[in-house]
Symmetry: C2
Subunit: 201 residues, 2 copies
């Protein structure tokens, strides 16, 4: 068996919790793993047909009167085996982090000061609102021991967003001496550097 991309296992895993149609699966993914493994709606369908071709899931037609017919998918025995093998293998799983934000920030020397400040404030504020979302999510699962692992993934998200928020606030206070006047200018402003660096030799 050729090893599948993580998305396949995610789909298998979600179907192992409850058999679902593609539509329902897409929604389930959106409400559960999307924060650390988003799956596009269209990808759900292509993934399902791949898994069907491999014999890892099977779909059954369900006719409905009011709504259009749907196909409910559930893992086959082989599919469940494949899933459990994946879960039992201690292999390192891909972690990808890419931040266009940081790329921009990395070159902030060339950036107008207002834009930089705005960027950081946006970063901080959006982190604050995402943080609230995570806290709600966690609260909704607190006290339910069956949701332990799900809750821990949310807790993971919360910790990371907190890190984001703290970082942005940190940088802001370091850049704006007015808010914390103890330390003098920790750095030359970007404008200073541009003036100096224009002919730098």
């Amino acid at each position: 068996m050729p090893q599948l991309p993580t998305t396949s296992y995610a789909v298998l895993g979600l179907l192992s919790i409850a058999p679902m149609s593609g539509y329902e699966l897409a929604r389930a993914a959106e409400q559960s793993i999307a924060n650390f493994w988003p799956i596009a709606k269209s990808q759900v369908y292509s993934e399902l047909s791949r898994l069907e071709d491999l014999g890892y899931v099977q779909g059954s037609d369900i006719r409905q009167q009011r709504l259009p017919d749907k196909r409910i998918f559930e893992p086959t025995d082989v599919g469940t085996k494949v899933l459990d093998e994946w879960l039992a293998s201690p292999e390192y799983e891909t972690e990808r982090y890419r931040s266009g934000f940081l790329v921009k920030f990395f070159f902030a020397d060339r950036m107008p000061d207002e834009v930089l400040m705005k960027m950081l404030k946006d970063c901080r504020d959006s982190a604050a609102s995402t943080l609230k979302m995570f806290e709600q999510l966690i609260a909704s699962m607190a006290g339910n021991p069956d949701a332990f692992f799900r809750m821990q993934t949310a807790s993971f998200g919360r910790k990371h967003i907190q890190a984001n928020h703290q970082w942005a606030q940190d940088v802001l206070t370091q850049l704006d001496p007015s808010s914390k006047p103890k330390k003098a200018t920790a750095r030359k402003t970007a404008t200073d550097r541009r003036k100096k660096g224009h002919k730098d030799e």
Copy 2:
């Protein structure tokens, strides 16, 4: 001007610091932005020729006696303008986070307990070693005001890795009652749940 992928701006930005050959650029990227925006060696070359076609960079042949010839690229005036426009635009930049680790962890109900514990320990330990790396990196830039932004990106990485580390340690202590015997079993073990859930209705 059609908006370019972030990688293009990253390349332009690095070349704006110092003209470089493709080889040198790949190394520079590896040592600077790779932690939040990795660029494959091969992609460097394809990116450079794209930017050259667009007229954003120009390469000049440098002949060398001992080593093979190389082409030094530097941004054109148009290229610099494009870069600065990107930096001045306060548009939201793509942030992608994907963790196969968390996908696996999300389904830890189906996972053998030892594998789960090993996974978490690996997570914690690798975080610890990455943390050291970041701390070294930060120390190497401390006190240099010209490296302010670069240092802050490293600080960002450190904060996130710290979050990782704390999270893994948290979960470990919650799962292993022997280390912190105050709180009783915070959850049923995975094995318990499997026994119970085998025929669950």
